[in-house]
Protein backbone atom coordinates (compact mmCIF):
# COMPACT_ATOMS: atom_id res chain seq x y z
CA UNK A 1 0.00 0.00 0.00
CA UNK A 2 2.83 2.41 0.83
CA UNK A 3 4.53 1.67 -2.51
CA UNK A 4 1.26 2.54 -4.24
CA UNK A 5 0.97 5.76 -2.23
CA UNK A 6 4.58 6.63 -3.10
CA UNK A 7 3.88 6.07 -6.79
CA UNK A 8 0.70 8.12 -6.60
CA UNK A 9 2.47 11.02 -4.91
CA UNK A 10 4.91 11.10 -7.85
CA UNK A 11 1.92 11.80 -10.08
CA UNK A 12 0.30 14.30 -7.71
CA UNK A 13 3.44 16.37 -7.34
CA UNK A 14 3.77 17.12 -11.04
CA UNK A 15 4.13 20.91 -11.35
CA UNK A 16 1.08 21.58 -13.52
CA UNK A 17 -1.28 19.88 -11.08
CA UNK A 18 0.43 20.87 -7.85
CA UNK A 19 1.13 24.54 -8.62
CA UNK A 20 -2.24 25.19 -10.24
CA UNK A 21 -4.09 23.58 -7.33
CA UNK A 22 -2.07 25.51 -4.75
CA UNK A 23 -2.68 28.76 -6.63
CA UNK A 24 -6.43 28.12 -6.89
CA UNK A 25 -6.71 27.26 -3.18
CA UNK A 26 -4.57 30.24 -2.13
CA UNK A 27 -6.49 32.63 -4.40
CA UNK A 28 -9.92 31.44 -3.21
CA UNK A 29 -8.85 31.59 0.43
CA UNK A 30 -7.42 35.08 -0.03
CA UNK A 31 -10.57 36.27 -1.79
CA UNK A 32 -13.07 34.91 0.72
CA UNK A 33 -11.05 35.89 3.80
CA UNK A 34 -10.58 39.40 2.41
CA UNK A 35 -14.33 39.77 1.83
CA UNK A 36 -15.06 38.75 5.43
CA UNK A 37 -12.65 41.30 6.88
CA UNK A 38 -12.95 44.16 4.38
CA UNK A 39 -16.75 44.15 4.61
CA UNK A 40 -16.95 43.55 8.38
CA UNK A 41 -18.03 47.15 9.02
CA UNK A 42 -20.35 47.53 6.03
CA UNK A 43 -23.45 46.22 7.78
CA UNK A 44 -24.09 43.99 4.76
CA UNK A 45 -23.56 40.23 4.54
CA UNK A 46 -19.93 39.24 4.51
CA UNK A 47 -20.27 35.57 5.48
CA UNK A 48 -21.85 32.45 4.02
CA UNK A 49 -25.35 32.91 2.52
CA UNK A 50 -25.41 36.62 3.41
CA UNK A 51 -24.59 36.12 7.09
CA UNK A 52 -23.28 39.25 8.82
CA UNK A 53 -19.99 38.70 10.64
CA UNK A 54 -19.32 41.74 12.79
CA UNK A 55 -15.89 42.95 13.97
CA UNK A 56 -16.92 41.91 17.49
CA UNK A 57 -17.44 38.32 16.35
CA UNK A 58 -14.15 38.37 14.49
CA UNK A 59 -12.38 39.70 17.57
CA UNK A 60 -13.37 36.58 19.49
CA UNK A 61 -11.39 33.34 19.32
CA UNK A 62 -13.52 32.22 16.33
CA UNK A 63 -12.14 35.14 14.31
CA UNK A 64 -8.91 33.20 13.84
CA UNK A 65 -10.63 30.39 11.94
CA UNK A 66 -13.49 32.20 10.20
CA UNK A 67 -11.63 32.92 6.99
CA UNK A 68 -10.09 29.47 7.11
CA UNK A 69 -13.37 27.56 7.22
CA UNK A 70 -15.44 29.83 4.97
CA UNK A 71 -13.61 28.48 1.90
CA UNK A 72 -13.99 24.83 2.96
CA UNK A 73 -16.75 24.14 0.42
CA UNK A 74 -14.50 25.18 -2.46
CA UNK A 75 -11.65 23.19 -0.98
CA UNK A 76 -14.00 20.23 -1.09
CA UNK A 77 -14.91 20.90 -4.71
CA UNK A 78 -11.19 21.14 -5.56
CA UNK A 79 -10.54 17.83 -3.82
CA UNK A 80 -13.52 16.29 -5.59
CA UNK A 81 -12.07 17.28 -8.98
CA UNK A 82 -8.54 16.10 -8.16
CA UNK A 83 -9.63 12.78 -6.60
CA UNK A 84 -12.10 12.09 -9.43
CA UNK A 85 -9.64 12.84 -12.22
CA UNK A 86 -6.76 10.93 -10.61
CA UNK A 87 -8.98 7.87 -10.25
CA UNK A 88 -10.89 7.97 -13.52
CA UNK A 89 -7.85 8.77 -15.67
CA UNK A 90 -6.39 5.34 -14.89
CA UNK A 91 -9.25 3.92 -16.93
CA UNK A 92 -9.33 6.56 -19.67
CA UNK A 93 -5.55 6.45 -20.20
CA UNK A 94 -5.43 2.66 -19.92
CA UNK A 95 -2.78 2.94 -17.19
CA UNK A 96 -4.78 0.86 -14.73
CA UNK A 97 -3.55 -2.32 -16.43
CA UNK A 98 0.06 -1.23 -15.77
CA UNK A 99 -0.75 -0.61 -12.13
CA UNK A 100 -2.47 -3.96 -11.74
CA UNK A 101 0.37 -5.87 -13.38
CA UNK A 102 2.83 -4.28 -10.95
CA UNK A 103 0.48 -4.49 -7.95
CA UNK A 104 -2.15 -7.20 -8.47
CA UNK A 105 -3.92 -6.55 -5.15
CA UNK A 106 -6.68 -4.17 -6.19
CA UNK A 107 -7.49 -3.28 -2.59
CA UNK A 108 -3.86 -2.25 -2.04
CA UNK A 109 -4.07 -0.06 -5.16
CA UNK A 110 -7.23 1.57 -3.85
CA UNK A 111 -5.88 2.00 -0.32
CA UNK A 112 -2.58 3.43 -1.61
CA UNK A 113 -4.39 5.85 -3.90
CA UNK A 114 -6.63 6.92 -1.04
CA UNK A 115 -3.69 7.44 1.28
CA UNK A 116 -1.94 9.65 -1.29
CA UNK A 117 -5.13 11.66 -1.80
CA UNK A 118 -5.44 12.17 1.96
CA UNK A 119 -1.88 13.51 2.03
CA UNK A 120 -2.79 15.80 -0.86
CA UNK A 121 -5.92 16.96 1.01
CA UNK A 122 -3.87 17.69 4.14
CA UNK A 123 -1.59 19.87 2.01
CA UNK A 124 -4.61 21.75 0.60
CA UNK A 125 -6.08 22.39 4.06
CA UNK A 126 -2.69 23.49 5.41
CA UNK A 127 -2.32 26.01 2.58
CA UNK A 128 -5.87 27.21 3.20
CA UNK A 129 -5.17 27.62 6.93
CA UNK A 130 -1.89 29.44 6.46
CA UNK A 131 -3.19 31.85 3.81
CA UNK A 132 -6.44 32.52 5.71
CA UNK A 133 -4.70 33.17 9.05
CA UNK A 134 -2.04 35.38 7.47
CA UNK A 135 -4.61 37.48 5.60
CA UNK A 136 -6.91 37.64 8.64
CA UNK A 137 -4.04 38.90 10.77
CA UNK A 138 -2.97 41.37 8.10
CA UNK A 139 -6.51 42.78 7.55
CA UNK A 140 -7.61 42.74 11.22
CA UNK A 141 -6.50 46.33 12.00
CA UNK A 142 -8.22 47.60 8.84
CA UNK A 143 -11.50 45.93 9.96
CA UNK A 144 -11.07 47.25 13.52
CA UNK A 145 -10.75 43.68 14.77
CA UNK A 146 -8.57 42.99 17.78
CA UNK A 147 -6.54 39.81 17.65
CA UNK A 148 -5.63 39.34 21.30
CA UNK A 149 -8.18 36.49 21.70
CA UNK A 150 -6.74 34.67 18.66
CA UNK A 151 -3.64 33.43 20.33
CA UNK A 152 -5.11 32.03 23.51
CA UNK A 153 -5.17 28.33 24.31
CA UNK A 154 -8.88 28.09 23.52
CA UNK A 155 -8.37 29.76 20.12
CA UNK A 156 -5.58 27.35 19.27
CA UNK A 157 -7.77 24.42 20.36
CA UNK A 158 -10.49 25.79 18.10
CA UNK A 159 -7.95 26.04 15.29
CA UNK A 160 -7.06 22.36 15.75
CA UNK A 161 -10.72 21.34 15.79
CA UNK A 162 -11.51 23.45 12.72
CA UNK A 163 -8.51 21.98 10.92
CA UNK A 164 -9.80 18.46 11.62
CA UNK A 165 -13.34 19.40 10.53
CA UNK A 166 -12.24 21.13 7.33
CA UNK A 167 -9.94 18.19 6.58
CA UNK A 168 -12.82 15.75 7.12
CA UNK A 169 -15.06 17.79 4.79
CA UNK A 170 -12.34 18.04 2.14
CA UNK A 171 -11.60 14.32 2.28
CA UNK A 172 -15.34 13.57 2.19
CA UNK A 173 -15.78 15.59 -1.01
CA UNK A 174 -12.61 13.99 -2.40
CA UNK A 175 -13.91 10.53 -1.56
CA UNK A 176 -17.16 11.42 -3.33
CA UNK A 177 -15.04 12.35 -6.36
CA UNK A 178 -13.09 9.10 -6.12
CA UNK A 179 -16.32 7.09 -5.96
CA UNK A 180 -17.61 8.90 -9.06
CA UNK A 181 -14.26 8.27 -10.80
CA UNK A 182 -14.53 4.54 -10.06
CA UNK A 183 -18.14 4.41 -11.21
CA UNK A 184 -17.90 6.50 -14.38
CA UNK A 185 -14.29 5.67 -15.35
CA UNK A 186 -14.07 8.97 -17.19
CA UNK A 187 -12.55 12.14 -15.68
CA UNK A 188 -14.91 14.49 -17.53
CA UNK A 189 -18.08 12.59 -16.61
CA UNK A 190 -17.11 12.12 -12.98
CA UNK A 191 -16.00 15.73 -12.44
CA UNK A 192 -19.02 17.15 -14.27
CA UNK A 193 -21.44 14.97 -12.30
CA UNK A 194 -19.77 15.76 -8.97
CA UNK A 195 -19.54 19.50 -9.53
CA UNK A 196 -23.03 19.90 -10.99
CA UNK A 197 -24.53 17.86 -8.17
CA UNK A 198 -22.64 19.44 -5.28
CA UNK A 199 -22.38 23.00 -6.51
CA UNK A 200 -25.71 23.47 -8.26
CA UNK A 201 -28.33 20.78 -7.68
CA UNK A 202 -27.80 20.35 -3.94
CA UNK A 203 -27.89 24.09 -3.34
CA UNK A 204 -31.09 24.46 -5.39
CA UNK A 205 -32.68 21.53 -3.54
CA UNK A 206 -31.60 22.82 -0.14
CA UNK A 207 -32.85 26.30 -1.05
CA UNK A 208 -36.24 25.17 -2.34
CA UNK A 209 -36.96 22.39 0.17
CA UNK A 210 -34.95 23.25 3.26
CA UNK A 211 -35.73 19.91 4.94
CA UNK A 212 -33.58 18.14 2.33
CA UNK A 213 -30.52 19.94 3.65
CA UNK A 214 -30.01 17.41 6.43
CA UNK A 215 -30.00 14.50 3.97
CA UNK A 216 -27.88 15.78 1.10
CA UNK A 217 -24.28 14.51 1.08
CA UNK A 218 -22.52 17.72 0.04
CA UNK A 219 -24.52 19.84 2.48
CA UNK A 220 -23.56 17.51 5.31
CA UNK A 221 -19.89 17.32 4.27
CA UNK A 222 -19.72 21.12 4.36
CA UNK A 223 -21.67 21.32 7.58
CA UNK A 224 -19.02 19.15 9.24
CA UNK A 225 -16.35 21.55 7.93
CA UNK A 226 -18.29 24.47 9.41
CA UNK A 227 -18.55 22.69 12.76
CA UNK A 228 -22.34 22.38 12.43
CA UNK A 229 -25.04 24.99 11.91
CA UNK A 230 -28.18 26.24 13.62
CA UNK A 231 -30.41 24.07 11.43
CA UNK A 232 -28.34 20.86 11.25
CA UNK A 233 -26.17 19.70 14.12
CA UNK A 234 -22.53 18.73 13.75
CA UNK A 235 -23.13 15.21 15.03
CA UNK A 236 -26.02 14.60 12.62
CA UNK A 237 -23.95 15.79 9.66
CA UNK A 238 -20.99 13.71 10.76
CA UNK A 239 -23.08 10.56 10.99
CA UNK A 240 -24.84 11.15 7.66
CA UNK A 241 -21.55 12.03 5.92
CA UNK A 242 -19.86 8.94 7.34
CA UNK A 243 -22.78 6.75 6.26
CA UNK A 244 -22.68 8.14 2.70
CA UNK A 245 -18.94 7.61 2.49
CA UNK A 246 -18.95 4.10 3.91
CA UNK A 247 -21.78 2.89 1.67
CA UNK A 248 -20.51 4.71 -1.45
CA UNK A 249 -16.92 3.63 -0.99
CA UNK A 250 -17.90 0.03 -0.26
CA UNK A 251 -19.92 -0.19 -3.49
CA UNK A 252 -17.11 1.43 -5.50
CA UNK A 253 -14.49 -0.84 -3.88
CA UNK A 254 -16.46 -3.99 -4.69
CA UNK A 255 -16.87 -2.82 -8.29
CA UNK A 256 -13.17 -1.99 -8.52
CA UNK A 257 -12.20 -5.38 -7.14
CA UNK A 258 -14.50 -7.45 -9.31
CA UNK A 259 -14.79 -5.56 -12.56
CA UNK A 260 -12.75 -6.78 -15.53
CA UNK A 261 -10.10 -4.36 -16.72
CA UNK A 262 -10.83 -4.52 -20.41
CA UNK A 263 -9.53 -1.15 -21.61
Amino acid sequence: MFNVAKAELRKLRRPTLLISTILVVAALTALFTSIVFLRANSGNGNGQRGEIISPATLSAATGLVYGFKIVSFFLGITALCVFASQTAQEYSLGTLRNLLVRQPSRMKILAGKYLSMIIFAIALVLIDAMVAIAISYFLAPHAKVTTSAWFTASALALLGKTFANVLFGTIAFGTFGMILGLLFRSPISSIATGVIWSLILENILAGVVSSTQKWLPGQNFDNVSQGGSLTVSYHWSFMIAAAYLIVGFSIAAVLFKRRDVAN
Binding site: N3, R10, T95, R97, L99, V101, R102, P104, D260
Partner: protein, 299 residues
Protein backbone atom coordinates in the same frame (compact mmCIF):
# COMPACT_ATOMS: atom_id res chain seq x y z
CA UNK B 1 8.14 -26.44 -13.48
CA UNK B 2 8.69 -26.92 -17.21
CA UNK B 3 6.14 -24.55 -18.62
CA UNK B 4 6.07 -20.78 -18.55
CA UNK B 5 2.39 -20.76 -19.43
CA UNK B 6 -0.11 -23.57 -19.38
CA UNK B 7 -3.83 -23.20 -19.96
CA UNK B 8 -6.55 -25.81 -20.12
CA UNK B 9 -10.06 -25.21 -21.44
CA UNK B 10 -9.68 -21.49 -20.77
CA UNK B 11 -12.82 -19.62 -21.78
CA UNK B 12 -14.19 -16.13 -21.59
CA UNK B 13 -17.74 -15.21 -22.46
CA UNK B 14 -19.02 -11.62 -22.64
CA UNK B 15 -22.81 -11.78 -22.55
CA UNK B 16 -23.62 -14.04 -25.46
CA UNK B 17 -20.32 -13.55 -27.25
CA UNK B 18 -17.54 -16.04 -26.70
CA UNK B 19 -14.18 -14.25 -26.78
CA UNK B 20 -12.22 -17.43 -26.03
CA UNK B 21 -13.50 -20.96 -26.10
CA UNK B 22 -11.84 -23.88 -24.30
CA UNK B 23 -8.31 -22.83 -25.21
CA UNK B 24 -5.60 -25.26 -24.19
CA UNK B 25 -1.91 -24.79 -24.87
CA UNK B 26 1.49 -24.83 -23.21
CA UNK B 27 4.49 -22.56 -23.59
CA UNK B 28 7.75 -24.22 -22.53
CA UNK B 29 10.01 -22.36 -20.15
CA UNK B 30 12.88 -20.39 -21.67
CA UNK B 31 11.47 -20.18 -25.19
CA UNK B 32 10.07 -17.49 -27.44
CA UNK B 33 6.47 -18.29 -28.25
CA UNK B 34 4.54 -16.42 -30.91
CA UNK B 35 0.85 -15.81 -30.32
CA UNK B 36 -0.96 -15.20 -33.58
CA UNK B 37 -4.48 -14.84 -34.84
CA UNK B 38 -6.65 -12.40 -36.75
CA UNK B 39 -8.07 -9.33 -35.00
CA UNK B 40 -10.77 -10.36 -32.55
CA UNK B 41 -9.54 -13.93 -32.31
CA UNK B 42 -9.07 -13.71 -28.52
CA UNK B 43 -5.34 -12.98 -28.19
CA UNK B 44 -5.67 -9.93 -25.97
CA UNK B 45 -8.44 -11.58 -23.93
CA UNK B 46 -6.10 -14.51 -23.27
CA UNK B 47 -3.24 -12.22 -22.30
CA UNK B 48 -5.50 -10.24 -19.96
CA UNK B 49 -6.61 -13.45 -18.25
CA UNK B 50 -2.99 -14.56 -17.85
CA UNK B 51 -2.21 -11.23 -16.19
CA UNK B 52 -5.18 -11.30 -13.83
CA UNK B 53 -6.90 -8.32 -15.43
CA UNK B 54 -10.03 -10.23 -16.35
CA UNK B 55 -11.56 -13.30 -14.78
CA UNK B 56 -11.97 -16.42 -16.92
CA UNK B 57 -15.49 -17.76 -17.35
CA UNK B 58 -14.12 -21.28 -17.30
CA UNK B 59 -10.97 -23.38 -17.42
CA UNK B 60 -7.68 -23.26 -15.58
CA UNK B 61 -4.21 -21.96 -16.17
CA UNK B 62 -0.80 -21.51 -14.66
CA UNK B 63 1.90 -18.93 -15.21
CA UNK B 64 5.40 -19.81 -13.98
CA UNK B 65 3.85 -22.72 -12.13
CA UNK B 66 1.29 -20.63 -10.21
CA UNK B 67 -2.45 -20.63 -10.81
CA UNK B 68 -3.84 -17.66 -12.70
CA UNK B 69 -6.36 -17.25 -9.88
CA UNK B 70 -3.44 -15.92 -7.80
CA UNK B 71 -1.67 -13.42 -10.06
CA UNK B 72 0.07 -11.84 -7.06
CA UNK B 73 2.22 -15.00 -6.83
CA UNK B 74 3.75 -14.73 -10.29
CA UNK B 75 3.31 -11.13 -11.51
CA UNK B 76 6.41 -9.86 -9.66
CA UNK B 77 8.39 -12.04 -12.11
CA UNK B 78 6.39 -11.06 -15.18
CA UNK B 79 6.88 -8.08 -17.46
CA UNK B 80 4.03 -7.14 -19.73
CA UNK B 81 2.98 -4.71 -22.38
CA UNK B 82 -0.68 -5.15 -23.25
CA UNK B 83 -2.47 -3.57 -26.18
CA UNK B 84 0.16 -0.94 -26.69
CA UNK B 85 1.81 1.39 -24.23
CA UNK B 86 -0.30 3.40 -21.74
CA UNK B 87 1.34 6.10 -19.66
CA UNK B 88 0.63 9.48 -18.05
CA UNK B 89 0.96 12.12 -20.79
CA UNK B 90 2.01 14.94 -18.45
CA UNK B 91 4.92 12.99 -16.96
CA UNK B 92 8.27 12.37 -18.65
CA UNK B 93 9.23 8.92 -19.86
CA UNK B 94 11.64 8.53 -16.94
CA UNK B 95 9.06 9.74 -14.42
CA UNK B 96 6.51 7.28 -15.81
CA UNK B 97 8.99 4.46 -15.26
CA UNK B 98 9.73 5.75 -11.75
CA UNK B 99 6.02 5.61 -10.93
CA UNK B 100 5.96 1.94 -11.93
CA UNK B 101 9.27 1.23 -10.17
CA UNK B 102 7.87 2.73 -6.94
CA UNK B 103 4.70 0.73 -7.35
CA UNK B 104 6.49 -2.58 -7.83
CA UNK B 105 9.17 -1.81 -5.24
CA UNK B 106 11.96 -1.94 -7.85
CA UNK B 107 15.16 0.03 -7.69
CA UNK B 108 14.95 3.52 -9.23
CA UNK B 109 18.46 2.88 -10.57
CA UNK B 110 17.00 0.57 -13.20
CA UNK B 111 15.13 3.41 -14.86
CA UNK B 112 18.17 4.96 -16.48
CA UNK B 113 19.65 1.68 -17.68
CA UNK B 114 16.32 0.58 -19.15
CA UNK B 115 15.87 3.87 -20.99
CA UNK B 116 19.31 3.32 -22.40
CA UNK B 117 18.50 -0.27 -23.34
CA UNK B 118 15.49 0.79 -25.42
CA UNK B 119 17.26 3.81 -26.93
CA UNK B 120 15.37 6.51 -25.04
CA UNK B 121 18.06 7.86 -22.73
CA UNK B 122 18.24 11.18 -24.59
CA UNK B 123 14.49 11.72 -24.47
CA UNK B 124 13.92 10.32 -20.98
CA UNK B 125 13.20 13.76 -19.55
CA UNK B 126 10.74 14.74 -22.28
CA UNK B 127 7.06 14.51 -21.55
CA UNK B 128 5.41 11.30 -22.72
CA UNK B 129 2.85 13.26 -24.74
CA UNK B 130 5.65 14.54 -26.99
CA UNK B 131 6.81 11.01 -27.89
CA UNK B 132 6.30 9.44 -31.31
CA UNK B 133 4.43 6.14 -31.53
CA UNK B 134 7.71 4.26 -31.81
CA UNK B 135 9.12 5.98 -28.72
CA UNK B 136 5.96 5.20 -26.77
CA UNK B 137 6.34 1.58 -27.80
CA UNK B 138 9.95 1.53 -26.60
CA UNK B 139 8.91 3.02 -23.26
CA UNK B 140 6.28 0.30 -22.96
CA UNK B 141 8.96 -2.33 -23.48
CA UNK B 142 11.22 -0.63 -20.93
CA UNK B 143 8.34 -0.74 -18.42
CA UNK B 144 7.84 -4.43 -19.14
CA UNK B 145 11.52 -5.06 -18.40
CA UNK B 146 11.42 -3.27 -15.02
CA UNK B 147 11.06 -6.40 -12.87
CA UNK B 148 13.90 -8.20 -14.70
CA UNK B 149 11.21 -10.69 -15.73
CA UNK B 150 11.34 -14.46 -16.00
CA UNK B 151 8.42 -14.19 -18.39
CA UNK B 152 7.86 -11.32 -20.78
CA UNK B 153 4.39 -10.91 -22.30
CA UNK B 154 4.32 -8.53 -25.24
CA UNK B 155 1.22 -7.62 -27.18
CA UNK B 156 2.15 -6.19 -30.60
CA UNK B 157 5.53 -4.82 -29.47
CA UNK B 158 6.57 -3.64 -32.94
CA UNK B 159 3.49 -1.51 -33.66
CA UNK B 160 4.57 1.87 -34.97
CA UNK B 161 8.24 1.00 -35.15
CA UNK B 162 10.33 1.63 -38.25
CA UNK B 163 12.31 -1.27 -39.80
CA UNK B 164 15.39 -0.58 -37.71
CA UNK B 165 13.22 -0.36 -34.58
CA UNK B 166 11.62 -3.69 -35.46
CA UNK B 167 15.07 -5.21 -35.88
CA UNK B 168 16.15 -3.81 -32.49
CA UNK B 169 13.13 -5.33 -30.77
CA UNK B 170 13.77 -8.64 -32.53
CA UNK B 171 17.37 -8.59 -31.29
CA UNK B 172 16.23 -7.60 -27.80
CA UNK B 173 13.83 -10.54 -27.66
CA UNK B 174 16.56 -12.89 -28.91
CA UNK B 175 18.94 -11.50 -26.29
CA UNK B 176 16.40 -11.95 -23.48
CA UNK B 177 15.60 -15.48 -24.64
CA UNK B 178 19.28 -16.37 -24.70
CA UNK B 179 19.47 -15.25 -21.05
CA UNK B 180 16.69 -17.72 -20.22
CA UNK B 181 13.72 -15.33 -20.24
CA UNK B 182 10.54 -16.85 -21.61
CA UNK B 183 8.85 -14.54 -24.10
CA UNK B 184 5.20 -14.74 -25.13
CA UNK B 185 4.71 -12.33 -27.97
CA UNK B 186 1.68 -11.56 -30.06
CA UNK B 187 2.30 -9.88 -33.39
CA UNK B 188 0.87 -9.37 -36.81
CA UNK B 189 4.36 -9.35 -38.28
CA UNK B 190 4.49 -13.06 -38.98
CA UNK B 191 7.75 -12.85 -40.90
CA UNK B 192 9.31 -11.44 -37.72
CA UNK B 193 7.82 -14.16 -35.56
CA UNK B 194 9.03 -16.82 -37.97
CA UNK B 195 12.56 -15.67 -37.26
CA UNK B 196 12.37 -15.61 -33.48
CA UNK B 197 9.55 -17.87 -32.27
CA UNK B 198 10.40 -21.50 -31.62
CA UNK B 199 6.85 -22.15 -30.48
CA UNK B 200 3.59 -20.90 -31.80
CA UNK B 201 0.02 -20.64 -30.61
CA UNK B 202 -2.49 -19.82 -33.33
CA UNK B 203 -6.03 -18.67 -32.58
CA UNK B 204 -9.08 -18.16 -34.75
CA UNK B 205 -12.44 -16.97 -33.48
CA UNK B 206 -11.55 -17.79 -29.91
CA UNK B 207 -10.30 -21.30 -30.60
CA UNK B 208 -6.78 -22.69 -30.67
CA UNK B 209 -5.95 -23.84 -34.21
CA UNK B 210 -2.40 -24.88 -33.49
CA UNK B 211 0.02 -24.92 -30.61
CA UNK B 212 3.47 -26.43 -30.85
CA UNK B 213 6.84 -25.99 -32.49
CA UNK B 214 6.93 -23.52 -35.36
CA UNK B 215 9.06 -25.94 -37.40
CA UNK B 216 6.49 -28.71 -36.95
CA UNK B 217 3.76 -26.42 -38.23
CA UNK B 218 5.73 -25.35 -41.27
CA UNK B 219 6.98 -28.87 -42.02
CA UNK B 220 3.42 -30.16 -42.03
CA UNK B 221 2.51 -27.75 -44.79
CA UNK B 222 2.60 -28.93 -48.40
CA UNK B 223 5.64 -27.65 -50.22
CA UNK B 224 5.70 -26.41 -53.80
CA UNK B 225 8.11 -27.25 -56.60
CA UNK B 226 8.56 -24.60 -59.26
CA UNK B 227 9.75 -25.86 -62.64
CA UNK B 228 10.40 -23.70 -65.66
CA UNK B 229 10.84 -25.43 -69.01
CA UNK B 230 13.29 -24.01 -71.53
CA UNK B 231 10.46 -23.44 -74.02
CA UNK B 232 7.06 -22.12 -72.94
CA UNK B 233 5.28 -24.49 -75.35
CA UNK B 234 6.22 -27.27 -72.93
CA UNK B 235 4.35 -25.76 -69.96
CA UNK B 236 1.09 -27.65 -70.47
CA UNK B 237 2.95 -30.85 -71.31
CA UNK B 238 4.78 -30.60 -68.00
CA UNK B 239 1.50 -30.04 -66.12
CA UNK B 240 0.12 -33.18 -67.78
CA UNK B 241 3.15 -35.25 -66.71
CA UNK B 242 3.09 -34.14 -63.05
CA UNK B 243 -0.68 -34.58 -62.77
CA UNK B 244 -0.39 -38.07 -64.24
CA UNK B 245 2.08 -38.90 -61.44
CA UNK B 246 -0.25 -37.69 -58.71
CA UNK B 247 1.06 -34.15 -58.24
CA UNK B 248 -1.44 -31.46 -59.25
CA UNK B 249 0.12 -28.43 -60.90
CA UNK B 250 -0.78 -25.02 -62.28
CA UNK B 251 0.89 -22.61 -64.65
CA UNK B 252 1.77 -19.31 -62.99
CA UNK B 253 4.03 -16.62 -64.39
CA UNK B 254 5.71 -18.74 -67.02
CA UNK B 255 6.48 -21.59 -64.62
CA UNK B 256 4.72 -24.72 -63.42
CA UNK B 257 3.87 -24.80 -59.70
CA UNK B 258 3.62 -28.40 -58.53
CA UNK B 259 2.28 -29.58 -55.18
CA UNK B 260 5.19 -31.79 -54.14
CA UNK B 261 8.06 -32.03 -51.69
CA UNK B 262 11.59 -31.04 -52.62
CA UNK B 263 12.54 -34.75 -52.76
CA UNK B 264 10.30 -35.27 -55.78
CA UNK B 265 12.41 -32.75 -57.72
CA UNK B 266 14.82 -35.42 -58.97
CA UNK B 267 11.95 -37.58 -60.24
CA UNK B 268 10.41 -34.57 -61.96
CA UNK B 269 13.69 -33.71 -63.64
CA UNK B 270 14.03 -37.28 -64.91
CA UNK B 271 10.41 -37.42 -66.17
CA UNK B 272 10.81 -34.10 -67.98
CA UNK B 273 14.07 -35.25 -69.57
CA UNK B 274 12.46 -38.50 -70.73
CA UNK B 275 9.65 -36.47 -72.30
CA UNK B 276 12.17 -34.31 -74.14
CA UNK B 277 11.67 -31.26 -71.93
CA UNK B 278 14.68 -29.37 -70.65
CA UNK B 279 14.13 -27.58 -67.38
CA UNK B 280 15.85 -24.21 -67.15
CA UNK B 281 14.85 -23.72 -63.50
CA UNK B 282 13.83 -26.08 -60.74
CA UNK B 283 13.33 -24.95 -57.16
CA UNK B 284 11.40 -25.94 -54.04
CA UNK B 285 9.60 -23.57 -51.71
CA UNK B 286 8.20 -24.21 -48.25
CA UNK B 287 5.18 -22.09 -47.28
CA UNK B 288 6.09 -19.17 -45.03
CA UNK B 289 4.42 -18.68 -41.66
CA UNK B 290 2.36 -15.93 -43.22
CA UNK B 291 1.10 -18.21 -46.01
CA UNK B 292 0.42 -20.95 -43.47
CA UNK B 293 -1.45 -18.48 -41.27
CA UNK B 294 -3.67 -17.36 -44.13
CA UNK B 295 -4.23 -20.96 -45.16
CA UNK B 296 -5.21 -22.05 -41.66
CA UNK B 297 -7.26 -19.06 -40.60
CA UNK B 298 -8.94 -18.66 -43.94
CA UNK B 299 -8.23 -14.93 -43.84
Amino acid sequence: MTTAISVKDLSKIYGERSALSHASFEVPLGTVCGFVGPNGSGKTTTIRMLLGLITPTGGTGTVLGESITHPERYLPSVGAMIEGPAFYPALSGAENLRVLASLGGFSQERVHSLLEKVGLSERGKSKYKTYSLGMKQRLGIAAALLPNPKLLVLDEPTNGLDPSGIQEIRNLIKELASDGTSVFVSSHLLSELEQIAEFLVMLREGEVLFSGRTQDLLAAQIATLIAKPEFSVDLNKLVEITTRHGHPATVEGGAVHIVADAEWGATLNRLAFNAGITLSELSATQPTLEETFFEMTGE
